[in-house]
Point group: C2
Amino acid sequence: MGIELDLKKYIEEKRNKIENFILSYFNDPIRPEILHNSVTYSLTAGGKRLRPILALASYEACGGQNDITPYAAAIEFIHTYSLIHDDLPAMDNDDLRRGKPTNHKVFGEGIAILAGDGLLTEAFTILSNPNYASISKEALLKVISEISHASGLRGMVAGQALDLISEGAEPDAEIVQFIHLKKTAALIKASVKIGAILAEASEDLINRLETYGESIGLAFQIVDDILDIEGKTEEMGKPKGSDIERGKMTYPRVFGIEKSKEKAKELIHCAIDALKVFDHSAQPLREIASYIIKRTS
Amino acid sequence: MGIELDLKKYIEEKRNKIENFILSYFNDPIRPEILHNSVTYSLTAGGKRLRPILALASYEACGGQNDITPYAAAIEFIHTYSLIHDDLPAMDNDDLRRGKPTNHKVFGEGIAILAGDGLLTEAFTILSNPNYASISKEALLKVISEISHASGLRGMVAGQALDLISEGAEPDAEIVQFIHLKKTAALIKASVKIGAILAEASEDLINRLETYGESIGLAFQIVDDILDIEGKTEEMGKPKGSDIERGKMTYPRVFGIEKSKEKAKELIHCAIDALKVFDHSAQPLREIASYIIKRTS
């Protein structure tokens, strides 16, 4: 890979690796069959695979030489669980996700809850398996700590809980910031960070990638909020305006749409700036940051 | 501790340690407050702490000298998550658990789902923290692998899913065996096994403790099935007969109540037999096995 980077091709290549791992993971079917089908339905529903791709790109930017696809893919298991649970009637009550019926619409609420539980748990089975690549056990433990912390009671779950109880509340800058940092940015930041941990990068590089990860994570959610207002339903795979309908605490609702766009741009600038000590091996990370603000779905 | 063992005192001592750890874990409150309250409500709802006590007893039987309370307590986080999710309307739809309203009855379904998700995730934050005791990183990784496998898509979640879809189905010995082994025995077995792993016990001892753990785990669930028919509502903290009402796949339903009692006795015998190479340090494990068959709640 030279200075010029074909981001589309890069992403396609990584996505294939991740999806091959996911498929192979279920070669030996889960029992009962409905649980197998529920889990694989959501795992193969056409996600962008942003989080595992970020982990792989960060690993490469730090000079990692192994194939860490399984550990990167484990994050997609966690992301997928969070989407299945977020869509439940007791949460966001969504019927559509990426243009397809949500998991509980197809398999029922009970199985959807269990599929989410199982995916979350299975991520740790993958991350604790030292046989996938030549990685130190210390690094794997750090990765598990990082990911569980980002997803747990002081991370993603806290963000989702505050999001849930803040529906219809008065716009509040501190609250929307907490929700977005925890609900979305925490796992994106952890994805980037684990690439660096697995590559045994220096403290300085890890800190820089943390800044990068948190910045693009927050920008990602702000763009999501903006797309809910300005996006095209057919591109997003879900009806627009649903955040407004539910009185969700969004960036545009608190700061207005123009300020939100400015903030997203600033964050992307900050993310790319944090990468300045990296050479061209961080080019995919730079371009992913730029893509995040331009995306339409 | 001599040959004579005061089991009640032993259990009380261990339980205190576990509950102190659980309380101290939430000294720094979770935000939002409702999530904090939901999580601590179920964690402190008067559980027997059987699984962490088994882990501690197994660790001691294998000669372990450290205080591994946090790692043992992590299993209680997982057990508690599984109860919160099992009680949900989309699952067993229970209003009472240990004589108190179930989590979703108090905090609502959305928060109950999130509390469960958070507890499950947090268990791995605890297990991946190497600072709690002087344990090798290799042993901790093995523990994470063991527990996640026992709880995941080929463990507890699979058992719960088959349990859910088998309600009202014709009695089937193979199905009830699968459900009980996965839904209940898997995590109990893992609890016993991680004690041995943390003590870096020999392969032979680990195998024996696996046999012990699976046997008492299966016996525990069979006794649960029997208590649903013969138990006293006030002792159990939930109405009896609810399995029958729901057409649950239970041991008594498949094999009859007398055969079920015999099977539970056999299993306890088999569990105690597996411990024969251990000295008096395994006395708590032996007595816990005997207690399991005599319990009334």
